[in-house]
């Protein structure tokens, strides 16, 4: 692909709101995970809750979009001067030439879960429940279109945990096809009952902090996040570049990765080919690394078969939690921070490294020149996406 300029970016996770807070936490090797207090749920698990979501209020004209997911989106959009950067792009290209493509898995579903608890005596939902602007999968992109005053093409990609990696590909294609000149891409996913109880029912939640690449890893810790990037046909001051993307399917099982990671291997090879790069050109790999026994084993084998075992790599989910539909964008933007600040972030919470895993998994931050990063995102339904990101100069 033609490299795509990333003109602005911001991310808000359990590590904090915005880039500086994220970078501070990564440098301090500090996790944002804590035992769950969200809604007082009686689940034995840890979560990465974002501080400040509950206190966020949407602008009054957008009140009908009010739900946890859109509050998180609005909180995230206000960081790092992102609103200003989009305003400049809107003036430069025109509101109809700037697209919005966001990834989410559950959107504002919490709003519906709560509305079901308030059903009236005849079983109907309360009158203040608005399906379209909250529950519908598109609601977060619709909200962002209104909040950013954009009128370009827009949709949500919802392919579970690869969603917000894939939107980078969507934007690249739309710009290459000449339909738009710029796009706001990213992902927003917020804590809700379906995902917490759902992953619990699949016995994929860890009852302690998640520990990717640990011999005794027990599963994931769920997080929430809002991550946004502005990509443009041309940029005067790019923050970084999208160099390539590979998208594949496993065609194997709805919720279990292919044991040898066949689809993941094809996604990574596809991303390298799209970028015109060799495996040796990648300095650091941000792994999907969910800390489920099966994911880490399959991903270790898959990465090893494409890169060998020497490329430094880590999963940052021990810091942020698994932010599901937002994870692809969060980790792509952590990759940009790694490139900009010359730090490969450690994979946290490892007590006893799994000796069966082969990769060069970083247990401590490593200061180094980082030119290019590959970031993996894999999801339910067998959906795989790998991104290659590069620095400026």
């Amino acid at each position: 692909m033609t490299p795509l300029a990333i003109s602005a970016f911001t991310l808000t996770t359990a590590l904090g709101a915005g880039r500086a807070a994220t970078l501070d936490a990564l440098r301090a090797q500090r996790s944002g995970l804590a035992p769950v207090t969200f809604m007082g749920l009686p689940l034995p698990t840890w979560v990465g809750e974002v501080a400040g979501v509950d206190a966020t209020r949407l602008p009054q004209p957008l009140a009908e979009f009010d739900c946890r997911n859109n509050r998180l989106a609005w909180w995230g959009l206000q960081q790092d001067g992102f609103l200003g950067a989009v305003a400049v792009a809107r003036a430069r290209w025109g509101a109809g030439r700037v697209a919005v493509f966001l990834g989410t898995s559950t959107s504002g579903l919490l709003q519906t879960e709560l509305a079901y608890r308030r059903r009236t005596s005849d079983g109907s939902l309360p009158a203040d429940f608005h399906y379209g602007p909250t529950q519908n999968t598109y609601s977060v992109a619709d909200f962002a279109m209104h909040a950013l005053q954009l009128q370009g093409p827009s949709w949500v990609v919802s392919t579970a945990c690869s969603s917000s990696a894939k939107v980078f590909g969507t934007a690249a294609r739309m710009i290459a096809a000449g339909l738009v000149d710029a796009a706001v891409v990213g992902g927003v996913d917020s804590l809700c009952l379906s995902t917490l109880y759902g992953f619990n029912s699949l016995e994929l939640l860890s009852d302690e902090i998640c520990r990717p690449w640990d011999a005794a890893r027990k599963g994931l810790s769920i997080g929430e996040a809002a991550a946004f990037a502005l990509v443009e046909r041309a940029s005067e001051a790019p923050q970084g570049w999208l160099l390539g993307i590979g998208e594949t399917n496993d065609g194997y099982h709805m919720s279990t990765p292919h044991p040898e990671g066949a689809g993941a291997i094809a996604a990574m090879r596809g991303a390298l080919a799209d970028a015109g790069l060799q495996a040796a050109d990648i300095d650091y790999i941000n792994l999907h690394g969910t800390a489920t026994p099966t994911n880490d084993t399959a991903e270790d084998a898959a990465v090893n078969s494409v890169f060998g075992s020497s490329t430094p790599c880590s999963s940052t989910k021990g810091a942020t939690g698994h932010t599901l539909g937002a994870a692809g964008a969060v980790e792509a933007l952590i990759a940009l921070l790694a490139i900009q600040h010359g730090v490969m972030p450690a994979g946290l919470n490892v007590q006893q490294r799994d000796a069966a895993l082969q990769l060069n998994y970083l247990q401590h931050n490593q200061a180094a020149g980082v030119r290019r990063v590959l970031s993996n995102s894999f999801g339910f339904g067998g959906s795989n996406a790998s991104l290659v990101l590069g620095g400026v100069g």
Partner: protein, 269 residues
């Protein structure tokens, strides 16, 4: 890229009173009145038995139209990239999860949770046809068909490879049905190719329009009602033009409130 032009090589269709592409032709041509008979979903025969048992309505619907399109086009689905567009996914599943989660001690079914992802249909299809080709799953509320058609078309034009577009919607049970009334199941699949073949039915050329044109209305009132009621039925003006074999320029399909989608339809002789 100068022109976003693709060819339709296969069509799958399933909705109220529209049981397949060939059986719907006379209705779409105006030779027969449209009867609003409830949609009947076939069992997804391509799925392995375990997945077939777990398949909900949304998966059955998407599989049925996808299957019809690739069979009619005589196309090997094993290497075919796909785009799935839906306004809402599996409504019955969503209701069951929310109902369970409203109880004091929720016990969630792992199968229901797994199948609650918006890309459940994509996952099931790629398992059924053992395909590792790229796939995406989209939503743009009432504009979901338009979003899918744009994504599928640019993918065909940029990669030079065919793409199967599947757009489908299934109803919610109450109480969600009142909040989001979708009266029945409606699904369509279009197999799009980068060049004309001997099996091509029609050529489509796409443009975006920043002045949202009112979607081209349908002459048959019953089909027009369907077009308004179900997001995936936004395809109907396109199917009518293809069925009638008439060239049509600047056909407006519904997409977003502030953005229209214009299509030129040319029959392949």
């Amino acid at each position: 890229m100068n022109e976003l032009r693709v060819w339709v090589q296969g069509i799958g269709l399933l909705g109220p009173g529209l049981n397949s592409w060939p059986s719907a032709l006379e209705v779409l041509r105006g030779g027969q009145p449209h009867a609003n008979v409830p949609t009947v979903l076939p069992l997804p025969s391509r799925l392995p038995p375990a997945e077939r048992r777990r398949a909900g309505s949304a998966v059955k619907l998407a599989m049925a139209v996808a299957d019809e399109a690739v069979t009619q086009a005589q196309f090997d689905p094993g290497t075919l990239a796909t785009v799935f567009a839906s306004s809402s996914g599996e409504g019955a599943n969503c209701h069951a999860l929310c109902d369970t989660l409203a109880s004091a001690t929720p016990v969630v079914s792992p199968t229901r949770f797994t199948n609650s992802v918006h890309n459940a249909s994509s996952g099931a299809w790629h398992i059924a046809v053992a395909s590792r080709a790229p796939s995406t799953s989209l939503c743009a509320f009432d504009g979901s068909f338009g979003a899918g058609l744009i994504e599928a078309t640019i993918s065909v034009c940029l990669t030079g490879r065919p793409v199967l577009l599947v757009a489908s919607d299934s109803p919610y049970p109450e109480p969600l049905n009142t909040a989001r009334p979708l009266p029945d199941h409606f699904g369509v699949a279009l197999l799009l190719t980068p060049a004309a073949t001997e099996r091509s039915l029609s050529a489509l050329t796409l443009r975006l329009s920043s002045s949202p044109a009112v979607a081209t209305p349908l002459r048959e009132a019953s089909l027009e009602t369907l077009r308004h009621a179900l997001p995936a039925a936004a395809v109907l003006p396109l199917l009518v033009a293809i069925a009638q074999g008439a060239a049509q320029r600047h056909m407006a399909l519904g997409y977003l409130p502030a953005m229209g989608l214009l299509v030129d339809v040319e029959p392949v002789v």
